[in-house]
Amino acid sequence: MVKKTIHEINAKIRDGSVNVVTAEEMVNIVGELGPEGAAREVDVVTTGTFGAMCSSGVWFNLGHSEPPIKMQKVWMNDVEAYTGVAAVDAYMGATQLSESMGMDYGGAHVIEDLLRGKSVDVHAISHGTDCYPRKVLDTSLTLEDMNQAIMINPRNAYQKYNAATNSSKQTIHTYMGSLLPRFGNVTYSGAGVLSPLSNDPEYLTIGTGTRIFLGGAQGYVVGQGTQHASAGRFGTLMVQGDLKKMDPEYIRAANFTGYGTSLYVGMGIPIPVLDERVAQATAVKDADITTNILDYSIPSRDRPALRKVTYEELRSGHVEIEGRDVATSSLSSFKRARIIASELKDWISRGDFFVSMPVERLPENTLSHPMKETEGVSFVSDIMSATVVTIDKDASVYKAAKIIMETAFNHLPVVNKDNTLAGIVTAWDISKAVSLDKFDLVEDIMTRKVITAQADEQVAVVARRLDQHGVSALPVINSMNQVVAIITSDDISKLFARRH
């Protein structure tokens, strides 16, 4: 049995005799010496990760103006920061979007710009009080001008994260990047062998108060992160650090097309090797870490898992899904994770960084519950109109025009003999056909690629589909592709009108 204390390890750091290795190097050391030998040899194992961490942000204290203002709302470079606390404190979240530039610029960019020494335009408004009379404030500030800029990330360093793919027929844009149609690619996140929590899955050394590498500076683990679901090995950490001391190499703004902005955060956690149990945990390899590939085309909280994979498979560049070879790529940078783990190793070897024991362990066996929804959820079946009027595909355009006039339905699903969906014609298609002197069959003028809905889908999901495709009605089909109803943007607006 090997037993070491934090004090002994820190004494070695102080006198320069400490033995630090990265989590990648530790795999072979444990392989050769076994956990007991490795625990005797190695004092600290360093981990690292560099990836998109949406749940990131910075608390700024801007200092008081003259006359002072109690900021009710504040914007930096047109990105709103959260106020609602004391007068001149505000929290800039990484995914908050600019009000003028939309998805091109967000909180993450404000943070990176400040870190790079740029000044940001600050605009604040207030209702004015006796103690804080000012109502409007405009100034421009650099990071140096702020009293504090404390990064607090409520949920970082996921123990593991799902890999993503897309079974649908369209490319989708997600926080996991662009996912090409029909399992065109798989994306994943996390540093596998170097990932902090994968190297201490039982939270033996990582907990409240653990000193870490955050964005190139020393930071701390505050405690469990939000959505910490340790029972399913989906632990997360809340971390804090001083933005003023960080390095833009490790804090980088990102844009995910169609999703918005996020922040790439570099984090490294040292694991003091106190005994063989810790040594064994840090011997984890890519092949030992598994995750699920989820189908992100299903717009639901419970996305179906297509299969289990290991990080070793993911890192190989391709995985098999339903008999096909699918290209994989990472969203986080393994190269930078490595740089972080070795930089932290250098800090410790040089005596610039001491390890710490948590003052409180992270909770084990917590679950992350889905939201309790008290407002009834509306399904397509609740608001669709079942009296849908369809037209045969070999009917004449004239007949279609007549039906539209008589029924006041603007959209006619076009059907085959067995009532299966063949296409759709709208009043607009008919006007166009007429203007081009085309009076042939409905089949010749219909749109063949029809966007559809199903009766058991949620209205919120279908509403977005209407928006995305710029259409105003969707035929509702059953499992046999037969038209059973139609749902229009009018039906949806009426539903929302009832609610508000």
Binding site: G51, H173, A254, T257, S262, Y264, S329, S333, K335, R336
Partner: protein, 130 residues
Amino acid sequence: MKIKINISSETVGRPIIAESILETGVLLNVSQAHFDRSHGEVVADVLEEHYDEMYQALTSRGARVTKLDAPIEWNEDECVECSACMSVCPTRVFSLDEDYSLKVDQAKCIQCGTCVEMCPHRALTLLNNK
């Protein structure tokens, strides 16, 4: 050399590419084609010495022709070497070497633009994109 042929809604129903090939006798090697009801976009290779002829034939039929002479541009300062671009590129322009540095083989690029949308750090640009 690569060219991009844009075909507008008025001409989308006519076989103008086929007509142009017949007229000039110049071959086009199509590497990408996207069509919808209102618009068509084709990326093709044509020999440099035949470009003018082909340009003439296509534009006289109402197409818009742009030279794609600048392949994907990679800004190393913006790139964090995450490798997100790797899995979307149809021609494997991107790869990682042993130390996980990104390698970019621009010669393979067919300028489809997919990686430009994918890159979270705006490190990839296509001069002729859109």
